[in-house]
Subunit: 406 residues, 2 copies
């Protein structure tokens, strides 16, 4: 009752009997999204048809939603655009960063962390393989990134908050270290945007990407976003293929149907093909729910939720070990515990209506989306974990069957 | 009344007072899409939350919708997947085709047509610039592609039906010519899939892409699709980065969170990031409307509609010249006329409720989506064109203002 954000939960359509601790994987549905999507489908598409690109301003949606996300990540509105998926955007920004470093002929290494979300690593592997010519990806442990940056480093690619442990990097310190060594810094904000304040421009950040369907509540497979600092957009002005995924909506004048690519002089150059209007419309509503609460208030509640959860679980549950940083300054909005039977334990919890995630090999992952997770949920989830571990239900066969997606 | 497809129009929510001849730009809304999207949002996302990746089979949607599209383009169900945008998919398939040709060291040229849809050219320009090392894009006129293919050609990239004139290439002949010269063939089916039968495997096609929001009625910015012939999927088996946009959903086992990319051995390797579930769900309904009518019946009606339109317009309208092929065997499902005041004429027609397209510099473009365009619409549209040209309303200032998107 003392939670200043308590009423914000009413914006969401959460099912009865469920405690949802997986908003870091797929954010919950805002009620307003249903109305918005219905309107986009029936009125804008059905009645407006092709006219809605102008009349309903579909053409501006990628920039308009980007400008809203900019407020959450410490960027200027003209530095962010929504487009494609996080993976595709990673390819764009890594290739762009390497291009911006092309004059330094001995800088061909992308430094990243072995425990990064795999798609980040795959995209980098695909890119260095495509480029050849000595480009490579160097993987280090989570805490070793700063030490690994040297005069051969072209780009440092790190995820702000780790997808598994919730461990959080120090963005200003690492960005500073990269710049000191002459490298560019690419941040993946997938597990931080919408959950905690990110201060890209204050950290002098270069380029970043992030996900729309986690804490931004954009819906399954929502469009992702790209940030590029204004100074880099200027530097790219005379390099038409600095961003190599050259599509018509990244052209300066897409509707002139010019056979030669002339890139937009703005963040639009990170646009490629025709954007998903259903996806962007749902994402806009999701981002609005975050803006309405305020990112500082969300972080304050997130800290309180995760601190409380750790305290109760450690007091009550046997056989679990905290795998997230204990210091909240180094932790995002999720808490992970290891347990030798983590997979089955999580399946048993889900069967009781407490939805978290299993991550191989032995991680129980609990996300605390502060917009809709209540303090009472923390107590109930910890009690559920205690009961499942203390009892024998996790031993039932059904909780050991692996589904296609876990 | 004698149109065997007349009832299929009832599947669509077309606004009163509008004759819609722009289904080649954005297909109309099927009624069933509203219900489907509402269900996906409220039930699958809202109630199911993260569980819907398994419970609602979201994870299979890209392949399931791809298998349906396969039926329309003469492919096997395991050869097609839905993903990303047409532009992004073009990058994937061009890079893949160049990779498959990498052993032929003197083949570094992509041959395409100057009048191709610009995004196709931009993507190719971005790719050859990224690769360097002698790769280049050679542009020729529409009818010169066959003659331009030689021993330096790695890939021929053509759009089956031209976005502006509706002129249609002979897919078997050009594919055969490319193969004869040792080149691979990339087809863009954006203006043919869903409007006319495409026979990829019969033509021994290699790789293709296409658009979901035109004749497939998938909605604004719907996901696009990729086809790769089974023999190429096998050939790529030992080349992890043959498709260089390496994302987690192209991995053989995405949920093992392996830090090393090991590509799927199937068409899945053209998947990259998390797909748009709203977009794919709407696209599935759109594709179902095409399958229900049958692609041969659609082609027969499309031919009749375009023949009729050409005949009436040429008999009644002054100052227009047919820019589409007169021979229906060489024409897709659209008809273009040039007129010196095409922009204003089209604006005046739109104001009267007949929605076609203007394409620079002087083209009036009319798309005949045979699923919902009626023979009566052909008469009424031609009458409207006649009246606008014969009268003076096109001279009104309001019809000369250019909107953001035309």
């Amino acid at each position: 009752t003392q939670d200043p954000l308590a009423n914000h939960r009413n914006q969401f359509a959460l099912p009865e009997g469920v405690i949802y601790l997986d908003g870091n994987s797929l954010g919950a549905l805002p009620h307003a999204t249903r109305t918005r999507v219905q309107g986009v489908v029936a009125k804008e598409w059905g009645d407006g048809l092709i006219r809605s690109w102008n009349a309903a301003n579909w053409i501006d949606l990628p920039r308009r939603v980007g400008a809203k996300i900019a407020q959450l990540i410490g960027a200027e509105s003209h530095e962010v655009i929504c487009a494609d998926s996080t993976s595709i955007n990673l390819f764009k920004v890594l290739a762009t960063a390497l291009r911006l470093q092309a004059s330094s002929r001995d800088r061909k290494v992308i430094v990243s962390e072995r425990t990064n979300f795999p798609t980040d690593l795959y995209v980098a592997q695909g890119l260095v393989d495509l480029l050849g010519q000595g480009h490579s990806l160097q993987l280090v442990e989570f805490d070793e990134a700063a030490a690994a940056i040297d005069e051969r480093t072209a780009v440092v690619m790190l995820t702000h908050v780790n997808f598994k442990t919730g461990a959080m990097h120090d963005t200003p310190a690492l960005t500073g270290r990269a710049h000191e060594a002459g490298a560019l810094m690419v941040w993946d904000l997938s597990h931080s945007a919408g959950a905690l304040p990110v201060t890209l421009n204050k950290a002098d950040a270069d380029i970043a990407v992030g996900c729309g369907y986690k804490y931004l509540n954009g819906g399954p497979g929502a469009p992702a976003f790209v940030f590029a600092a204004g100074r880099h957009l200027s530097a790219m002005a005379n390099e038409p293929f600095a961003q190599p995924l050259a599509g018509w909506l990244g052209h300066r004048a897409p509707f002139e149907f010019d056979p030669d690519y002339r890139p937009a002089m703005s963040i639009d150059r990170f646009a490629v093909g025709t954007p998903s209007i259903l996806g962007l419309s749902a994402l806009e509503v999701g981002v609005d729910t975050v803006l309405a609460a305020g990112i500082d208030a969300l972080r304050a509640k997130s800290i309180a939720l995760t601190e409380l959860f750790i305290r109760i679980v450690e007091a009550q549950c046997h056989g679990v070990a905290l795998e997230s940083p204990r210091n909240v300054q180094h932790r995002g909005s999720q808490v992970c515990f290891s347990h030798p039977h983590a997979y089955a334990v999580m399946q048993a919890m889900i069967a009781r209506g407490v939805i978290g995630d299993f991550r191989a090999p032995d991680i129980l992952r609990f996300g605390f989306a502060p917009l809709y997770v209540r303090y009472a949920d923390v107590w109930d989830a910890a009690k559920c974990l205690h009961e499942v571990i203390a009892g024998s239900e996790w031993q039932r066969d059904e909780f050991h069957l692996k589904a296609a997606v876990t």
